[in-house]
């Protein structure tokens, strides 16, 4: 609620938005792409193992595309970033809390929610979908490459399967999920950071709780979006 009110204080959060977008999004790209690459490889290999003798092999492309875009791209990226981004935010804001830097902000007439929380949550909402789209694309590419290199599939065969059940709505679904994950990870990190008590031990506790709680919320949201939007 405070964050929504603080949205109006554009002059406090706007100068920090780009910096946070870099920290939350751009710096998360390597880990997201690493996870997506190996997920794509494994999906292709496991699809081939499952389908051999039962279904045409081009369904490998279908499974890689659908699973990557609808589920594993957003969820695995969300979980990885809850560790990287959520923990970072909780630790940073928690340290600011226990060293009185947040009190100092308030004493200097800054609204700490507008100054610290709003740019981080907006950056999460904007950048998570972008990172997830990149992860989805690389996961599919990795599955494609694996199919050609290890499964004796041709490129047209993989693409035939990929196109077979492709629906542009799948990409929108993936984006909606990742926006909700971005808001969750950053807002939970900020909340636990803000309410940190008790020095270094408190910062450690807040960081752990932020990762655990945001991971749990991601999984609940994942089920919620599947139940409501598919």
């Amino acid at each position: 609620m405070d964050a929504l009110k603080a949205l109006r204080k554009v002059r406090l959060w706007a100068p920090h938005l780009v910096g946070q977008m870099v920290r939350v999004g751009v710096e998360s790209v390597p880990i997201a792409l690493f996870i997506a690459t190996f997920t794509g490889v494994v999906l292709a290999l496991q699809a081939s193992y499952t389908f051999t003798g039962a279904m045409p092999l081009y369904f490998v492309g279908t499974l890689v595309g659908k699973t990557m875009i609808l589920e594993l791209g957003p969820v695995l990226t969300g979980l990885a970033l809850s560790g990287r981004v959520g923990a970072n935010i909780a630790a940073e804001i928690g340290t600011m809390r226990v060293t009185e830097q947040i009190d100092a902000l308030e004493a200097l007439a800054y609204d700490p929610v507008a100054y610290l929380v709003v740019p981080r949550v907006l950056a999460g909402a904007i950048m998570f979908p972008m990172v997830v789209i990149l992860a989805n694309a690389l996961g599919v590419l990795a599955g494609w490459g694996t199919s050609m290199a290890l499964l004796d599939m041709s490129s047209p065969e993989f693409l035939k399967g990929l196109r077979l059940f492709f629906d542009p709505w799948d990409v929108q679904f993936s984006v909606i999920k990742s926006i909700s994950f971005g808001i969750t990870v950053t807002a939970v990190g900020c909340s636990f950071g803000f309410h940190t008590r008790g020095g270094a031990a408190g910062v450690g506790r807040a960081t752990t709780q932020a990762v655990v709680i945001s991971s749990m919320i991601i999984l609940v949201l994942d089920a919620f979006w599947a139940a409501t939007l598919l």
Binding site: T99, D103, A104, E106, A107, L108, A109, Y110, D111
Partner: protein, 248 residues
């Protein structure tokens, strides 16, 4: 222009920290509040700028009750008050100059050049001219406190609140900090509220001294009156004699 705390009660859970504390600080005065660790001295300071709100009581700054103001009005009051934190509370991701500039940037009335000049002026005032490009981690504890002073005076506040400004410092640095507090009162005409349990410092800088004990005002007077008091609790505290405190 004055600060008045009237019958302040404040509890944190089961712990009742302030139990009817009252204090008046007149314009231009340096009021030192002494008291044991955990007696609620820092809590008292945080009430003055609305970082904490009392459960019961009133906090008047320039005729406005901070305890009853909305958030926007509290921010307006905070612009009149500088706050020097116990451990400086510098923003560790910013340079020294950026730290000092924070309050000026918030006022949104100064150009970049004016802010740069004012920052350098404030740093020179605390003998840290040329330190603007350094990071807080590159400074000693005493230097960080002086940056905290520079940040507090940058906006030319009417009041400065000092939370244990000499705690953890060596005797020479303590003397430097005490001189800075006196210089701020004498040259800038700032009204000061200093929280400390360092009695040497208290006697050196205070116009008046109040003692916070068990959540209430146990003593208030001039440094001379404090030295002459017969109250065993006050005497025990200023002389560092637990036997007097126990017998009280």
């Amino acid at each position: 222009m004055s600060i008045q705390l009237v019958n302040i009660h404040k509890s944190f859970g089961e712990k009742e920290v302030l139990r009817g504390f009252s204090l008046t600080i007149d314009a231009g005065q340096t009021m030192v509040v002494i008291g044991g660790s955990g007696s609620g001295k820092s809590v008292t300071l945080k009430h003055i700028i609305g970082l904490l709100r009392p459960d019961i009581g009133e906090v008047w700054v320039d005729g406005e009750n901070v305890a009853r103001l909305d958030q926007a009005s509290v921010y307006r009051i905070r612009r009149k008050v500088g706050f020097v934190f116990q451990f400086a509370a510098l923003f560790d991701s910013m340079t020294i100059a950026e730290n000092v500039a924070m309050g000026l940037e918030r006022m949104e009335t100064f150009s970049e050049a004016e802010i740069r000049d004012r920052v350098e002026e404030c740093l020179e005032w605390v003998d840290l001219g040329g330190y603007g490009d350094r990071m807080p981690a590159q400074l000693s504890g005493g230097q960080r406190k002086r940056v905290g002073f520079a940040r507090a005076i940058a906006t030319e506040p009417d009041y400065i609140l000092y939370d244990e400004p000499t705690t953890g410092l060596d005797p020479i640095t303590k003397a430097v900090i005490d001189e800075l507090i006196m210089k701020m009162a004498d040259e800038l005409g700032v009204t000061g509220v200093v929280i400390t349990h360092d009695m040497d410092s208290a006697f050196r800088i205070a116009d008046r001294i109040a003692m916070l004990h068990e959540g209430r005002n146990r003593f208030e007077g001039t440094p001379e009156e404090l030295r002459a008091t017969d109250d065993p609790v006050v005497k025990g505290f200023i002389e560092g004699r637990p036997d007097l405190l126990e017998s009280a």
